[in-house]
């Protein structure tokens, strides 16, 4: 399998596509950093008039803070991560089928699953490189520009953020490979991934609020609460929502709950214990999210694995 992995990785690195991904990644890192620095400049001083204290986790702000117009790196990855996964996987199997190379490949003394494992692992390696690159660029330049070194806890939180990002993009990679196994042409699989992306990133909240509006009456408090709870649970089908919620929590220690809270409850929460959540508690909060995302990623890959193993591969 190593020979396959090596070839796939070399293919990725040599391709124009990889160059495009790199450019996208660097642009996102640069632009979001610019945005974050602008945001930190104002937010870092706190807002005395509203009683908001300056946040102690300035370094993490580099990844979540924005100047109001340009999104932060975390939101950028939530949005563009799927496209990176798509570019790495949408033609993994079907283009080899169409070119007649898969037929020749499977005539070699290798197990069939080595083909799909090699492709997934090579794609995953590229994802790791890209995510690590983006985090390092933002950290490095940010450190240089702000002059504030990260604390140990901040470094740990950034690592967790990187893991979440990798798993998130790997899910889209798995989905792209799955569709490349199921569909005949690369164009079809690419379009389908884009459709799923649009659904999960943009339309899911419209759908959930539509259903919630039909199910619950907005006239009562319980109705409102029910609608909000339903909407949140429904939205969490989407890996994009899961990712956004979890990195929001990991990178912002002031986030104390992900559930629906009333204003009274919220006041209680903030008044009860002042300050921020320790890292273990933040992790506990998003643990189900991570498990869910890993399950989605493995699910996408497992289905493509099974379909591919049972598929009859014929000449072009």
């Amino acid at each position: 399998m190593y020979a396959l992995y090596r070839k796939e990785l070399a293919d990725h690195v040599d391709s124009v596509r990889f160059l495009i991904i790199l450019i996208i990644a660097f642009l996102l890192a640069g632009v979001s950093l610019y945005s974050a620095l602008g945001g930190i400049a104002t937010a870092g001083q706190g807002d005395a008039s509203q009683g908001i204290a300056p946040t102690p986790f300035t370094f993490l702000q580099l990844f979540v803070q924005s100047n109001g117009t340009i999104p932060s790196l975390a939101s950028f990855i939530a949005l563009v991560g799927p496209i990176i996964g798509l570019l790495l996987g949408f033609d993994a199997i079907n283009s080899e089928k169409n070119a007649g190379t898969l037929n020749r490949l499977l005539a070699q003394p290798i197990y069939r699953d080595a083909v799909i494992n090699g492709k997934f692992l090579a794609g995953l390696t590229v994802v790791v490189i890209i995510v690590a690159g983006m985090v390092l660029i933002v950290s490095g330049v940010g450190l240089f520009r702000t002059g504030i070194p990260p604390t140990g806890e901040e470094v740990m939180r950034l690592l967790v953020f990187a893991v979440f990002s990798i798993v998130y993009i790997a899910f889209w990679l798995g989905l792209s490979i799955l569709l490349s196994v199921v569909t005949r042409s690369a164009a079809t699989s690419a379009l389908l991934v884009v459709a799923v992306w649009l659904l999960f990133a943009f339309f899911i909240s419209l759908i959930s609020s539509g259903i919630a509006g039909a199910l619950y009456s907005p006239d009562t408090v319980t109705g409102l609460e029910g609608a909000a709870t339903f909407q949140q649970s429904f939205d969490r089908i989407s890996p994009t929502i899961l990712y956004s919620e979890s990195v929001g929590t990991i990178l912002d220690p002031t986030v104390r709950t992900l559930g629906i809270t009333s204003v009274a409850q919220y006041d209680q929460l903030s008044a009860g214990v002042a300050g921020v959540l320790p890292m273990s508690q933040s992790l506990l909060l998003v643990w189900p999210h991570l498990v869910g995302m890993i399950a989605l990623m493995l699910g996408a890959f497992a289905i493509s694995y099974i379909v591919f193993m049972k598929q009859e591969i014929r000449g072009a």
Partner: protein, 257 residues
């Protein structure tokens, strides 16, 4: 050629059957034996089950019933061992267009666990052998069909197989290219002593190279033997230049009735 009859059987199928869906019978109860060193021709119209048979021999398609063996290995149970000793050139063989001919061969060599330091030399000698010694560094995208087919033969030979299976090797190739290809194929048998299974419907070419042929029709093997045997069986006079064509035609007519 008589000596080949006593040699060990390298390819054997035993009631091999493939049914697609529940109704489409691609191959029906095929019993076939190919001996070591033979060139065996699989003849038959399109869709007669030749490619399906080949794919079952390589363990790439699971038979509905029956068994296939290559050497001592069960093709369905030990596909890896089978593929280690068998080279397969599919019809419409594809290469990675962005890689050079040499890179493509190197990749196949690696998949076959050929030591890296032997590979370079081996690739050069194979390219020489198939007659494209200077094209090795070009991207395969720029290759003509004939060159691709030659690269395909080199690709098959890199694992030094005992058995070589060629699926429609001469389709779409110009006459001179076909002549050279046939020369290469004959050498693989006569000089190297390899066993070849070739599927084709180019009857005149097959007549020139095959020791024995099998004629497929609708998934069934309707005739099998040397050209002389089949000629006397079907009443075609020996020594005709289009003898295989005539034999094929007679069996075909017999089936249609």
């Amino acid at each position: 050629m008589g000596g080949k009859k006593d040699r060990e059987i390298l390819i054997r199928t035993d009631g091999l059957t493939k049914v697609y869906g529940n109704t489409i019978v691609a191959v029906s109860k095929l019993n076939l034996e190919v001996r070591k060193g033979e060139i065996f021709g699989l003849l038959g119209p399109n869709g007669a089950g030749k490619t399906t048979t080949i794919r079952m021999l390589l363990g790439m398609t699971e038979p509905t019933a029956g068994k296939a063996f290559i050497g001592e290995y069960d093709c369905t149970r030990n596909p890896i061992d089978v593929k280690r000793m068998t080279g397969y050139l599919p019809d419409n063989v594809g290469f990675y267009g962005d890689m050079s001919g040499k890179e493509n061969l190197r990749f196949t060599g690696r998949l076959n666990n050929i030591p890296e330091k032997e590979l370079g030399e081996k690739i050069d000698s194979l390219l020489e052998r198939v007659g494209i010694p200077d094209a090795g560094d070009q991207k395969v995208r720029t290759y003509s069909l004939g060159m691709k087919q030659r690269l395909g033969i080199a690709d098959v030979l890199i694992k030094d197989p005992h058995i070589i299976i060629l699926d429609e090797p001469t389709v779409g190739i110009d006459p001179e290219g076909v002549r050279q290809l046939i020369e290469i194929i004959l050498k693989l048998s006569h000089e190297d002593g390899r066993t070849l299974l070739i599927s084709s419907h180019q009857l005149y070419q097959m007549q020139q190279i095959c020791d024995r042929v099998g004629i497929f029709f609708q998934g069934k093997l309707v005739a099998c033997g040397s050209i002389e045997e089949l000629a006397s069986e079907s009443g075609v006079e020996q020594g005709r230049t289009d003898i295989l064509d005539e034999i094929y035609h007679r069996y075909f007519e017999r089936r249609e009735q």
